[in-house]
């Protein structure tokens, strides 16, 4: 039994995109209702984008809500004010968040550690304020309403987007593409460079890598992935709540990544799933969800700093070593 589990997890790590896809295909049938599955899909992607920067490059941004929100709002504005089709809205949302990533990243990567976190937080607050004040375009406090996408029209086929299960699978296509991209990136030479930067910036520079440029590039890519999550969320919810840009949303990315296991491929997704599932269950029982989250979070930070998935991988590697090598 144990060996089967180990073998399957080893397989999962080798074929991570295929595994993720296979799991996500049946995922809605394991969840109590479809909207929750869609939510987990979107926030899983958001956490994966965040983890690219935090877990793999070692840069703790406290302002990633800016990219989720910019992606959401720009996709929403494309639909509501410009009347563009859904796919153009996604493209605009991703492009806008990449641009926001370029500007915020350019300013923030000059700092390190806690200062980096503070600068990203401050800049994200500026983005919040700008969107809050631009009421004519964003609806201000009420959020942007009327992001209506009733059908996904492809050549020869029209999919009813109001059906939650259809919605799930349409969004899954984009999430799968993004996961494939992240997986390729992590396997690439550039993926090696960002891990080297996380491990030792000085040494990476002495090896001839332009650390600032690499950081900026990964910052923009991370922002773009979070922006994609945001754009998909706008289509999913039909509105863009101003909360999308709130710093609590930035904090949620940190929590999900830590809960699942930072610097692992599946960790952030696991973290997002557990977080949102618990939120759903607990809010049905009590009003004090935030208190419960706080307690869970403390337990993990204190006793399982590698997160759920990270701890599991660690255990498996120990078993493997005890059995003397490979399984």
């Amino acid at each position: 039994m144990k060996n089967t589990v180990i073998a399957s997890i080893v397989f999962a790590r080798q074929h991570r995109v295929a595994t993720a896809l296979a799991f996500l295909l049946v995922f809605p049938f394991l969840m109590p209702y479809d909207a929750l599955s869609v939510n987990i899909l979107i926030f899983g992607l958001y956490a994966v984008g965040f983890n690219l920067l935090f877990g793999y490059t070692g840069m703790l941004s406290f302002g990633h809500a800016a990219f989720l929100g910019v992606g959401s709002y720009l996709a929403g504005i494309s639909v509501v004010h410009a009347g563009w089709p859904w796919w153009a809205a996604i493209v605009v949302g991703v492009a806008a968040s990449c641009l926001a990533g370029l500007v915020i990243g350019f300013l923030a990567i000059r700092t390190r550690g806690i200062y980096f976190s503070m600068v990203t937080l401050a800049l994200a607050q500026i983005v919040y304020y700008v969107f809050y004040k631009a009421e004519r375009w964003t609806g201000g406090e009420n959020g942007l309403r009327g992001v209506k996408v009733e059908a996904i029209n492809l050549p020869g086929i029209s999919i009813d987007f109001l059906n939650p299960l259809n919605k799930y699978y349409v969004i899954l296509v984009f999430v799968a593409l993004a996961l494939w991209f992240v997986s390729r990136l992590l396997n690439s030479p550039f993926g090696a460079v960002i891990e080297a930067i996380r491990e030792n910036e000085k040494r990476a520079a002495a090896c001839g890598y332009d650390v600032a440029r690499a950081k900026l590039l990964v910052f923009v890519l991370s922002a773009g992935i979070c922006g994609l999550a945001g754009a998909l969320r706008a289509l999913h919810l039909s509105i863009v709540p101003i909360d999308s840009l709130h710093y609590l949303q930035s904090g949620q990315a940190v929590m999900m990544a830590l809960l699942g296991g930072m610097g692992t491929f599946f960790g952030p997704f696991v973290g997002a799933a557990v977080f949102l599932y618990l939120e759903d269950v607990v809010t049905n029982l009590t009003r004090y969800w935030m208190g419960v989250v706080g307690a869970i979070f403390m337990v993990f930070v204190l006793f399982f700093p590698k997160g759920i998935w990270g701890t599991l991988l660690h255990q498996i590697e120990r078993w493997q070593r005890r059995q003397g090598g490979s399984v």
């Binding site: 396997n187 002495a206 090896c207 001839g208």
Partner: protein, 248 residues
């Protein structure tokens, strides 16, 4: 004594606030010559090392590499020009395997921002990394995490990483610091081998170690150039004896 210098410091000074760590130092290093920069604690050795290796800029003066002004260039430019260094405090990628440490360092000359091709496609890099690990005697540590290696092994790993960018000039800051006597011997042999194929400059605290190893010694004291010559000249230099040997 032949040929243009590979590295030249011209009237280099460095201040930290009002404190003058380096005062108007001019030295030329000739290609192929194994040189050591020595001096007692606080002599300015590490500051000088940092200035010529791109760690910190000089406050005044110039650094020339093969006749080209490299003063104030970024650390990654130094590596790309052909100047590699190993740090005084070991700097390796601790959570990566020994092999990956060297492979990443090698990769710089081939590809830096390739995002979509798998690393495994670059077979030559993988083979070259294995060859370099063998060179520094770390073949057995190929798959171990760099952070799990013994101190001496980590230092050897760092040398392999410095060699990965095929430097014409190798700068080493106290390469045997914290090493056991056996490890020191191994490292000294390695340095001697390396100096046969490229220019090596070391900064060293232990005078005994470099006396038998280097052809030329440069002695710094209180941020100034005190003496410059072959081991015999340095051994008999009265000034050096006074400030340096007297301490031991």
């Amino acid at each position: 004594m032949t040929g243009a210098p590979i590295l030249e410091a011209k009237a280099v000074s460095r201040y930290f606030g009002k404190f003058q760590a380096l005062n108007n130092i001019s030295v030329a290093f000739r290609p192929g010559e194994l040189t050591a920069i020595i001096g007692p604690n606080g002599a300015g050795k590490s500051t000088f090392f940092n200035v010529i290796s791109g760690g910190i800029p000089s406050s005044a003066g110039q650094v020339l590499f093969e006749g080209r002004d490299i003063t104030g260039l970024a650390p990654h430019d130094f590596a790309r020009l052909g100047i590699a260094k190993s740090f005084q405090i070991t700097n390796v990628f601790k959570q990566l395997s020994g092999h990956e440490n060297v492979r990443v360092a090698l990769q710089m000359r081939t590809t830096r921002f390739q995002i979509l091709r798998p690393r495994e496609d670059y077979v030559t890099l993988i083979e070259q990394a294995d060859a370099l690990l063998e060179r520094v005697g770390l073949t057995d540590s190929r798959n171990k995490l760099a952070g799990d290696l013994a101190h001496g092994q980590q230092r050897s790993l760092e040398v392999a990483m410095a060699l990965a960018c095929d430097p014409r000039l190798l700068l080493m800051d106290e390469p045997t610091a914290g090493m056991s006597p056996q490890e020191t011997t191994v490292m000294m042999d390695l340095i001697l081998q390396l100096s046969a194929e490229r220019t090596v400059i070391l900064v060293e605290h232990k005078m005994k170690m470099v006396m038998g190893l280097c052809k030329r010694l440069i002695v710094l004291h209180h941020g100034e150039l005190l003496a410059d010559g072959n081991p015999e000249e340095i051994r008999t230099n009265a000034e050096v004896k006074r400030v340096y040997l007297g301490q031991n």
